[in-house]
């Protein structure tokens, strides 16, 4: 199954580990780098405590004016300065989770994803490993798509 798909990115940053930790855990810093190209983060509410909620607003200029996208989730593991785990899902401005298809995401995209950040102190610089993984989708539509694609892929591999 492709449910457990993930993207893993490793970087070495020339900054002390405490500062890199703040990039992920302090709203002001997080907002400064997180928005994709052309997007800004006007709102970032981050309760960095186990079970604490997060609500991030991404704003970008579109053909029909400014477009807002909201993401919500929860902090799962917080191990200051070395490990952070949080979940993410698309949401409305009140933090109610929306199915990814409703937001124009490809069918089969998981409802909820998990971001794992691992930091390692290299003395002045920091090694960062970020893993973004899909939490198995429970929406029947998404499953149907995924199964169809998996079946096709299995056929092709044979």
């Amino acid at each position: 199954m492709t449910d457990t798909q993930s993207v893993v990115i490793e970087r070495t940053l020339s900054a002390p580990i405490d500062l890199v930790w703040q990039m992920w855990t302090e709203a002001e810093h997080f907002a400064a780098w997180y928005g994709p190209m052309g997007a800004t983060i006007p709102t970032a509410t981050m309760d960095v405590n186990p079970g604490g909620r997060r609500l991030i607003c991404m704003e970008m200029a579109g053909p029909d004016g400014t477009m807002q996208m909201w993401f919500t989730g929860e902090y799962v593991e917080i191990d200051p300065t070395t490990r952070l785990v949080y979940t993410e899902a698309m949401a409305d401005a009140e933090g109610n989770v929306l199915p990814p298809e409703a937001m124009g995401m490809p069918p089969g995209a998981p409802m909820e994803t998990r971001v794992v950040v691992e930091l390692e102190d290299l003395g002045g610089s920091t090694r960062m490993v970020m893993t973004h993984e899909g939490v198995p989708a429970d929406s029947p539509g998404a499953m149907g798509w995924q199964m169809a694609i998996d079946k096709l892929e299995a056929h092709l591999a044979a």
Partner: protein, 138 residues
């Protein structure tokens, strides 16, 4: 970079549009078992040959189907490359994260430079204060 991303986006749009039809998905499923010509592909459907041809053209322009060159018998074959891009949502996130981390790197540099700048100012400031204190002593 942006142009490449836009191209990928277009490709994805086309792949999804092509997949958003049960006849076309059935055609792909049939082709997953091996090449077939239009007549063979049309067999299970209650549809005219031109209608089936139209569906195949959509799949072809989405890059999901490639056609042989022999004029009379032009078998259709499946090309799975666009499908892999679709099925891998995670890979779609990769360029987004790479882009973010580039910005995190820049931001960290700016922060640390600003910090050093501030340190220097504080040093100079305390020197000046010391001078002034000397001055008032006199």
């Amino acid at each position: 970079m942006a142009a490449v991303a836009a191209m990928d986006e277009e490709q994805l749009d086309e792949t999804f549009a092509a997949l958003a039809n049960s006849t076309r998905r059935a055609i792909l499923a049939r082709l997953a078992e091996g090449e077939a010509n239009v007549n063979e592909l049309a067999e299970p459907f209650d549809m005219s040959l031109p209608a089936i041809s139209k569906h195949i053209k959509v799949l072809e322009s989405a890059g999901l189907v490639v056609r042989g060159r022999r004029a009379q018998y032009r078998p259709c074959a499946l090309d799975a490359a666009p499908l892999r891009a679709v099925s891998s949502w995670a890979e779609q996130y990769r360029p987004v994260w790479e882009d973010r981390f580039d910005r995190m790197g820049d931001y960290l540099r700016t922060l640390q430079e600003a910090d050093h700048e501030a340190d220097r100012e504080v040093d100079q400031g305390s020197d000046r204060e010391a001078d002034q204190e000397e001055g008032t002593d006199r």
